[in-house]
Subunit: 430 residues, 3 copies
């Protein structure tokens, strides 16, 4: 009996993986508006606005005020032609075809109104969000909650809270942020001990409401290290008086390190994983469209995180890296440190050719129980479908080529490994 070809093995594995019910361990879903209500909610995703802008559509065409939602859609569709090769536009086409029954191969100005109508009807269903989750075979999604999110009005078993902490580490020089922190914790933060107490309040609040993780995105030049209370006090005196960019930069950096280390301590105390998303610089292109302004300097190293990984052996650190050049370090650090877990394929690395090469390396050198395969990072539930499907295709191909063809594994054994990577590990970790 002939062995199956890598291509058919990939198809078999894909089908098996695609039938699993999974969780999505990192999204930006707003649980009270989880699914889209208008096609513009889909087309307004920064991947389309920034790529259309990059291909020549003026920012005013995209973000100009006084445009109706329908007109925003029509103007953006005018600019999608140059994006046809991108995987991002394929996400949109798969959504249009598979969730809304759009039967055109490509979205164009000529057929745009047809999709507007289709989506308008379908999205009007009161259970649309639940329908989408069912189609995606996703039982729960992790959120990204501001520290002062009330976490009310939604099912925290389906929409799992996650404490996002960028504001606490990087923005405490803004009086608005400090005021939000005092308001939601009912705690004065004029002293460093007050700040510590406020942070502890946040953890109590989030954990009581079922939070599954603490998370943060970090710039290239961030270096975690412990800061003594004495040093932190002096720095806090400078920061707490500041309002915005005039702050003493060294003091702000010190407070950032102090708060970050405090967060890790609380993660240890409350047994929460601490998701690290490493390597982004914000507003590199300030004239870009909304959410299309951030980029990176790929000269980053996990070596800068060694004190953190050593100091918190009981905290799991699911680590995402922004650039593929850091993937080998991520593999190596996860191979050595028990508490470092490779986590998904983030943003500028979330395209098939990059996932393919990063994934092959993870699969051959990191214990299979430590691989947290993928998250959608979606703002609207609909995007979970094409993004996870893209990942499952690449995962199935990697398993078929690297394990079934090259290493003689059975398809079933490959599916079992894929199941850990896609489903079981995330369920166990979070």
């Amino acid at each position: 009996m002939p062995l199956s070809s890598p291509k058919s093995a990939a198809e078999t594995i894909f089908q098996a993986l695609d039938s699993l019910e999974i969780i999505d361990p990192h999204t930006h879903i707003q649980p009270l508006q989880a699914a889209s209500r208008h096609l513009n909610d889909l087309l307004g995703y920064h991947y389309f606005t920034e790529l259309a802008h990059s291909a020549g559509v003026p920012k005013m065409e995209i973000e100009g005020e006084h445009l109706s939602a329908d007109d925003r859609v029509r103007r953006l569709v005018n600019g999608l032609g140059p994006l046809e090769n991108t995987i991002q536009l394929q996400w949109l086409h798969e959504i249009a075809q598979d969730l809304f029954g759009f039967d055109e191969p490509t979205l164009t100005p000529a057929n745009c109104d047809k999709l507007l109508e289709l989506t308008s009807q379908t999205m009007a269903a009161p259970d649309w969000a639940d329908q989408v989750l069912k189609r995606c075979r996703v039982s729960a999604v992790m959120l990204t909650n501001d520290f002062d999110d009330p976490l009310e009005g939604f099912d925290t078993k389906r929409y799992l809270p996650c404490l996002r902490t960028d504001d606490l580490v990087f923005h405490l020089h803004r009086s608005t942020v400090r005021a939000r922190l005092e308001r939601c914790t009912k705690q004065s933060i004029s002293s460093i001990s007050g700040l510590q107490a406020a942070i502890e309040e946040l953890f109590k609040f989030f954990v009581a409401r079922g939070a599954r993780a603490c998370a943060i995105s970090l710039p290239t030049d961030f270096q975690p290290q412990p800061i003594s209370t004495t040093t932190a006090k002096l720095a806090w005196e400078k920061v707490v008086k500041a309002d915005g960019d005039g702050v003493d930069a060294a003091a702000l950096k010190t407070i950032g390190q102090f708060v970050f280390w405090t967060l890790a301590e609380r993660c240890q105390q409350y047994k929460l994983p601490f998701d690290l998303m490493i390597g982004v610089y914000r507003k590199v292109y300030p004239q870009g469209v909304y959410q299309g302004q951030d980029l990176y300097d790929s000269r980053v190293s996990l070596y800068d995180y060694r004190a953190l990984f050593n100091s918190f052996p009981d905290v799991y650190f699911p680590v995402s890296v922004l650039a593929s050049v850091t993937n080998q370090e991520l593999v190596s650090y996860a191979w050595i440190f028990p508490n470092v877990l490779p986590f998904g394929h983030w943003w500028y690395s979330n395209t098939p050719s990059i996932i393919r090469r990063d994934l092959s390396h993870r699969l051959e050198a990191v214990p299979g129980t430590k691989l947290l395969g993928y998250y959608s990072d979606a703002y609207k539930l609909e995007f979970i479908l094409p993004k996870f499907r893209m990942y499952k295709r690449v995962l199935a191909k990697a398993l078929a080529e690297d394990f079934v063809a090259d290493r003689g594994w059975s398809e079933q054994k490959a599916i079992d490994l894929g199941t850990k990577v896609l489903k079981t590990n995330s369920e166990r970790t979070f």
Copy 2:
């Protein structure tokens, strides 16, 4: 009807792409001696001399004086054996076989005189350069012109001028360079305003003669930033007195940044693209053969260019990076910045396995209208043939595997995308 295999799809796409008439958007062709006149003009290309030297041929054997052109060829051919696996030697074999009818699989000392004779006859044809361009299906090539090139004696519709500016940014501490600038612009440059006026003269001259771009190669540690006229004046006072390496290094660096920024301003004014070739260090191996001395430090980032990309939204920057590690940044910056265009596969990244991986990522994440696929960088027209053919093969394979096989595209749609990348985008941009 069975789908075609990726292999046959690649062949179909290759044939379609290979039949297109294109321009070559970056070369070092000397228009008055565009094609080779002796086999030594081909074998003297630095790729062969440096690789033969690297494999053990002493420099004196390669560059010793008092050798006839025939003898130079014979000595170098003696050293080609160890290079047989290199793609560079394959370029030579394809030229020998396809342009000169050489019917041996490999060039060896035993058959070297046969090729000498064949090339001698063929190159003697007065229209040899035109014959080569026709065989390459290239309608025009961009040049690399010194700033004081008279741009005379050739058809500027076929040989398109391009202002190369390395000397202006990096070598104004050499009195010979300053003298050349004063001579060709008839402008005193003893003051900073004189220098600015001279640069403006260059642009007027080049644009009037059909220049299509300004270009420069940049070292790893170059960081573009605006310099005030006051600061530039003080630095220029130091540089303008210098003659060579004794110059104040900080002042020279400041003037380099000032001139670079001035060039970008003139590109904006005259609507010229500004080609940036980022990441080369010159004379890292000073004992190497001619043009075989330059290398690089791959720790470079486009993040250092953010001020430039932000300040000149109306200037197109076709960007080449020397090392593949920077390709993901190039993709990401081109995905966000409208004025950043990935440009070719440069020098140490111009080999099939590197092109393959860099290209797959560009094709899946950058708008297809922004991809400036390839240039030959050739010094003699003959090399356009095998270099572009190497690229077309990789491009066809990427389109067949990533788009036809993995994404279900038709071959025709893949050919249309390849046509943009190979032909249309370059024609429109330059």
Copy 3:
């Protein structure tokens, strides 16, 4: 007659390469205990202990005292399940099956005693080491000898001495290291000239006993440069008084550079290759298991080695890089510098997907006579078998796909290239 498929070409090439008798140009074999005497010698390899530890086995379970060798094996086998996907565990399975006739697909707690018995019987054979070498088709292995190794009691034609020099460059602030150096060379090193004389003694001793190379591993931040004797004297006065970490860091760094340069001078004098293994930081995870504590910062560049490569044109530098991101620099520097040779696939880069991509680039751009394909880095002879076989599979695949399929080479020509890379080049260089 149909062309063979890449898959069958790879198989043909693999069989041809696998039949060659070769040398292993870098190992940590102890010649007096070259093969394993107990299964624990195999399972105690750091790849298994560190990966099992990373997957959750407590350090005490692995390194706790008062455990018998059998019990150590049983406890570690309990923790191997999560490693099943790793290529490292496949090495163990191949050894079990091919050297010891273990007929289970996977080593589990249930069948562990069976393998204990099999290995116990087989390893008891007095000629077991020679049997293993014969099965690996390896005629000789290079060692890694401490500078004060007596080099006695073994066949230096089969076990080739190699002077390892990390202690001399990085650890002379330890009085124990200085004492060892004085003892073995019978030379006072209280003065810098004494230190130089001692180093010369080491070379005389090693060369007289058939040493084939000098070797060292280097951290990311090491920068070779010549140090004047005057500067070295001042630094040595500080270092020679130190005992451990209280040493003046700048003085230690200077002495490290001085000794390193001196080693290169002696390599030139004694015509020894100088193996450079670039980019490791020691004890990044000090709580890790034995030999499972080292990691790296991938921001390293061969540009920092330019003075070395330029200053010693007659010394061959076989260069290993720890991270794949440096592979393109390695290719480029080997393409330009006659004395730089790409050397194997080291440690965190010694997995199939990384080898595959690094190798394709080496094969297409470096003269085939300069590629030192692979070494096992093994501590016990048994590991030579699966590690080299892994490499040969990847090499055969690269030759089949890149040369036979893509470039039209005959299988025989591909085998000839593979033979250079796997065998001939190492034999000639060392």
